[in-house]
């Protein structure tokens, strides 16, 4: 089973047991949130090697550098772009477009969040939007809670739409060789429906709160969004690169250009344009600060996770679980697809969806022979994507973006509590999964 890849397992322990115990143990520690998840994942990966489940070469083969490259490239592009002030500009412009009416602002900021999330990482998007949201609600003298709640949902829903919008999609796309357009044609069409179906209950629940005085609205209307653009030259450069990168995602797949190549080349081009007129000293400062904004905790978490998942895959646990799933659904494709959708959603609401998706990917891959090959199992990937990404809305700990918003809210003095959030968010998440079920059933099954 392990071939030449594995080093000898110490003490003659059964490799399947060692790998499974390590994996479940690490998963439990990650869920407990007592130790930083990157530390746990790297330690788990190290133990996979030390205890002989994998050797180092095999471990490196398990790391999906396409996912890492895409994440890092996009993070650098955003780190440079944000300095231009464009995100504040769009948020303020959109708030003024609706005459600074509270409900209009909530809807507009949610649309902006969803759109940005589709093109950028969710965490990055909320980091850019939430400060503006807090400023506008403070000036309007309204409670920020509904706006922050809507921001969380919009970021996770928008992120679901594209290959680059949410880490689970990046991982799925990379592992199953699905293109930007595959996601655009298969996942994105249902996203506007899910978005609209989520905004309506938000309006109904908090409709009494959407009131602001004329003076407060005047204050927001007096914002001058043009002043938010701090660097017009950088704005032009970063918009050019961003459009170029997205065009490459859409059109370059037939030429075998992987997303990581596009994102990293885009990042390098933007850094070049930004730094060309500067002195060497200024350049190294700029480049250092752009790389420092990469979320290295997430990147190292991915590295450890990929190695651990490769470990249990090599040890045979994934195959075992896949057989169990087939047994459970009696090999029926419709049941398998819907089981993946619903279980992904509920589990992703309760645990971090990144390790979950990392585990599901080899599992779904190994189902391909049972259902007639990689082409036939594509709906399973869409089910996993919709389930894992939208499932993140189910609780405050369901996605990293939720925790970032909650962190902001706490520091600004408007804490978002776990249970009150869950009581509204979980049913809303189930609604989005119900809509997705109908869509997948109608289109693919």
């Amino acid at each position: 089973m392990l071939g030449a890849e594995a080093a000898p397992v110490i003490f003659g322990w059964d490799v399947l047991w060692v790998a499974s115990t390590l994996f479940v143990g690490s998963y439990a520690v990650i869920m407990s949130e007592q130790i930083n998840r990157a530390i746990v994942a790297l330690l788990g990966a190290g133990l996979m090697i030390l205890l002989g489940v994998l050797n180092q070469q095999a471990a490196v083969r398990g790391v999906d550098f396409n996912t890492l490259g895409l994440l890092i490239g996009m993070m650098v592009i955003v780190a440079v772009t944000r300095k231009s002030g464009v995100f504040q500009y769009v948020a303020i412009w959109s708030a003024k477009k609706v005459d600074a009416r509270p409900w209009g602002i909530l809807l507009m900021l949610s649309c902006v969040t969803a759109l940005f999330s589709a093109l950028l990482d969710n965490v990055t998007t909320v980091l850019l939007i939430v400060p503006v949201t807090l400023l506008i609600t403070e000036e309007l003298e309204v409670k920020p809670y509904p706006y922050l709640f809507a921001t969380i949902f919009a970021s996770n829903i928008g992120g679901t739409a594209t290959l680059i919008g949410d880490p689970p999609n990046i991982m799925i796309g990379s592992a199953a060789n699905l293109s930007f357009n595959d996601f655009l044609l298969n996942v994105a069409p249902i996203i506007p429906v899910v978005f609209a179906a989520t905004m309506l209950p938000i309006y109904l629940i908090w409709r009494k709160e959407f009131v602001a005085s004329d003076t407060a609205r005047e204050r927001v209307l007096s914002f001058n969004e043009n002043e938010a653009i701090t660097d017009p030259r950088l704005l032009k450069q970063s918009m050019t690169v961003l459009v170029l990168v997205i065009a490459c995602f859409i059109f370059a797949h037939p030429f075998q250009l992987e997303p990581a190549t596009i994102a990293l080349a885009g990042a390098a081009l933007l850094l070049l344009l930004e730094n060309l007129p500067h002195s060497a000293e200024h350049q190294s400062k700029n480049v250092h600060s752009a790389f420092a904004e990469v979320e290295w905790v997430t990147i190292f978490f991915f590295v450890g996770l990929f190695i651990m998942v490769y470990g249990i895959e090599q040890a045979g646990l994934i195959k075992l679980l896949a057989d169990r799933l087939i047994g459970l659904t009696q090999g029926d494709f419709t049941t398998t697809t819907l089981t993946i959708l619903w279980s992904s959603a509920i589990l992703s609401a309760l645990v971090d969806n990144i390790p979950f998706v990392a585990t599901m990917i080899p599992l779904i891959k190994s189902l391909a022979p049972s259902f007639g090959g990689p082409e036939q199992i594509k709906p399973l990937w869409w089910a996993l994507s919709l389930g894992a990404c939208l499932g993140g809305n189910g609780s405050l700990i369901g996605a990293s973006a939720n925790l970032v918003v909650a962190g902001f809210a706490e520091r600004a003095g408007y804490p978002i509590r776990f249970v009150p959030f869950l009581l509204v968010a979980f049913p809303l998440m189930l609604l989005s999964i119900a809509i997705s079920s109908v869509y997948i059933y109608w289109r693919y099954l």
Binding site: P131, L135, R219, F223
Partner: protein
């Protein structure tokens, strides 16, 4: 020269129950950038000063980290700030403290200079149990250093 030679043992101090309005009066009257805040047992609880007060006048979104990087798009009006200042004037100082960087009586001169270099204004000196001793300012240290050496 030790810190004890340059310490001001009778600085202006605040208690947790002072209002922000009272603190502002003291700040303006004595042109103080920051004041030590003491609890009932005369232990140092934190500091309150210009930095904390400006933070209260600004929109919360601008003082968060990472927050708004600039506010140039907000119209230039002082009316809203005046209202804010009136509102926060009644708040307790104890609810808006910042953690204070502290010195010990035994802190060496180079270390004290480094902390003043990094943190700017005057720094409080405390005993190991947190009891407040006094304040050390760069002015006194510089004056002592500039004075002719005494044998």
């Amino acid at each position: 020269m030790s810190l004890l030679d340059v310490i001001n043992t009778h600085p202006v101090t605040l208690t947790l129950n002072h209002t922000i309005g009272e603190a502002l009066q003291l700040m303006l009257q004595h042109r103080l950038e920051s004041m030590p805040v003491l609890d009932e047992q005369q232990r140092l609880a934190g500091r309150f000063g210009v930095h904390e007060l400006l933070g209260l006048l600004l929109p919360k979104a601008a003082t968060l980290e990472p927050g708004l990087s600039d506010l140039s798009f907000i119209a230039n009006t002082s009316e809203h700030m005046r209202t804010r200042l009136r509102q926060v004037s009644a708040h307790r100082v104890g609810d808006h403290l910042s953690e204070a960087v502290t010195l010990r009586a035994g802190t060496s001169l180079p270390e004290a200079l480094l902390l003043l270099y990094r943190h700017g204004s005057e720094l409080p000196v405390v005993e190991t149990n947190g009891q407040f001793v006094g304040m050390v300012s760069p002015w006194e240290i510089l004056a002592a250093l500039a004075a002719p050496e005494q044998n």
